[in-house]
């Protein structure tokens, strides 16, 4: 108990001194993770769509060549950025750019560098997720869209991508939570995130374990909040599980259509037929 009391006191000490830096770090972490995930998703969607443009033997050779080239480029991008640690990618881009251009080109701020690195990294993961999401949509959906004369782009934007987006929402959530935690490696280029606050705080106070406890609680709070929000968004996207029956008069008002009671619908006939059949069935049973 004594140790726990000690920990509580140490945390209180840290918090009174560095609370604004901790909160600021959390804010930076969240902003970086959010922007990085959003841009990453955008990159992923672009790659996923480009990757799934269909081509056949009958297409023009140039079109086929371009499409194949695009697939190869995306493949290389995905393999390189998925296969190397983000911490190294950050160093590589942040220091490599001025190195190769003799300082002509460099990131003006660590924010820009961090956002670029996180976005590109997330995009590499999302490209594959989006491709999977598009493939997982029933091919019948594409045929249905094509059969009413939609082009590839129209089919994608109206029918396939909305369904693919819903399918990969869990992966987007995963990526966001991973980004909340993994942006901690951005201290390497001096980005002032939540973990950087820890390094600064312990450098001055030597309270390693109490500060780590604060960090643990902080990260867990952020990720729990994120997963809660994502679940809520998924539910929202699914829409209501029931639907309202449109009433005839409401229809007349909203759609400007008018039902002709004397004309009836093709169903009336069927209902009559079925009623007769039901009757026959019933009497048949009684006979037996």
């Amino acid at each position: 108990m004594g140790k726990l009391a000690q920990l509580g006191l140490d945390i209180a000490k840290l918090w009174s001194k560095y609370s604004s830096s901790y909160i600021n770090g959390m804010r930076n972490t969240l902003i970086l993770a959010l922007i990085g995930t959003l841009i990453g998703c955008l990159i992923g969607f672009i790659c996923g769509v480009l990757n799934t443009i269909p081509y056949s033997k009958n297409d023009h050779p140039i079109k086929r060549f371009v499409l194949k080239l695009i697939r190869v480029i995306i493949r290389i991008y995905v393999e390189v950025f998925r296969g190397t640690p983000m911490v190294l990618q950050a160093v590589f881009l942040f220091y490599g750019l001025p190195y190769f251009t003799d300082n002509a080109l460099r990131f003006s701020s660590v924010w820009a560098a961090a956002i670029v690195v996180v976005s590109i990294n997330t995009g590499a993961y999302m490209a594959e997720s989006v491709r999977g999401g598009i493939i997982s949509v029933d091919p019948g959906q594409t045929e249905g869209a094509m059969a009413i004369g939609m082009t590839h782009v129209q089919t994608m934007t109206s029918v396939i991508l909305p369904q693919a987006l819903r399918n990969i929402m869990p992966q987007i959530g995963n990526n966001f939570i991973i980004n909340v935690k993994d942006t901690s490696v951005m201290f390497i280029i001096g980005f002032p995130d939540f973990f950087a606050t820890h390094r600064a705080a312990v450098g001055a106070s030597y309270l390693y374990f109490p500060s780590a406890t604060v960090e643990m609680i902080g990260y867990l709070t952020m990720t729990l909040l994120a997963s809660f929000l994502l679940r809520w968004m998924e539910k929202k996207m699914d829409g209501s599980s029931s639907y309202e029956l449109a009433q005839t008069d409401q229809l007349t008002m909203t759609a400007g259509t008018y039902r002709h009671p004397d004309k009836g619908s093709p169903f009336d006939e069927r209902n009559r037929e079925y009623a007769d059949e039901d009757l026959r069935e019933q009497t048949g049973k009684e006979d037996r």
């Binding site: 019948g140 249905g144 009413i148 004369g149 029956l245 229809l251 259509t257 093709p266």
Partner: protein
């Protein structure tokens, strides 16, 4: 022959080395209701999918108002908007409500205004008896209801000819009637239809022409009373006798 919509000449289709369609010839005129019957695997569905360019035929031509749509330079999407298709597995858009399913093609392909498209869709949804369900998503309605919506969706595009690919084969027996009734009503309203079906009663009573296919070729073709009452080929007799049981 001014009222001829489609003419198919010497159409054949290979899947690899497997010839599924051989030298198919026939034509579709305005107001025709043609039933294509035959055993499973005889190439009926492939023929229909070729006509809608969902499959590319290996050789032959498909003339749409005299113009070959298999030539380079034809826009398949534009052509398909005149030739509607109803699938065995419905293929309604799962991310949209019943009404949106019938509106989206009109707005995006035919560039109609939202309100006009909505009114037009409602007309057909009323005709197939699905007007009360316009706010439902496809997963919330039955197979028969889905197929009726699919018919309304195809009709809302004002196609010149409507292709049906075994529209009742995926349905529970008690739902077949409602779909066939809608199709019969459509046929009686003068719609040009090409129907691949196993419903012999529909082929006999509703269509004005029956095509019997066997092993990728058109085996026999004629008026329903000829095919059903007085078939000439032995294959046709054998096939039909299985249905009469």
């Amino acid at each position: 022959m001014a009222d001829q919509i489609l003419q198919i000449n010497h159409l054949s289709k290979f899947f690899g080395n497997n010839e599924v369609l051989r030298d198919i010839d026939f034509s579709v005129c305005v107001g025709d209701v043609i039933s294509i019957i035959g055993a499973s695997g005889s190439g009926k569905s492939t023929l229909l999918r070729c006509i809608n360019l969902l499959e590319t035929p290996t050789s032959g031509e498909i003339l749409y108002h005299g113009r070959n749509v298999l030539e380079r330079g034809t826009n398949p999407a534009e052509y398909r908007s005149h030739v509607g298709m109803v699938f065995q597995s419905f293929n309604l858009f799962n991310n949209m409500t019943v009404l949106e399913n019938c509106v989206v093609g009109q707005v995006r392909v035919l560039k109609r205004g939202k309100e006009e498209a909505r009114k037009h869709a409602m007309e057909y949804l009323e005709r197939v008896g699905m007007a009360p369900y316009i706010h439902a998503k496809p997963r919330q309605i039955s197979g028969g209801q889905k197929q009726r919506v699919a018919i309304a969706r195809a009709m809302a595009m004002d196609p010149e000819v409507l292709l049906f690919d075994e529209p009742t084969s995926a349905l529970d027996p008690e739902m077949v009637g409602e779909v066939l009734n809608v199709m019969q009503a459509l046929a009686e309203s003068g719609m040009t239809m090409l129907v691949v079906t196993h419903e012999m009663a529909f082929a006999r009573d509703v269509s004005n022409q029956v095509v019997y296919m066997s092993d990728g070729v058109i085996c026999e073709q004629g008026k329903p009373e000829e095919i059903f009452g007085n078939p000439r080929k032995q294959e046709t007799i054998d096939f039909l006798s299985r249905f009469r049981g």
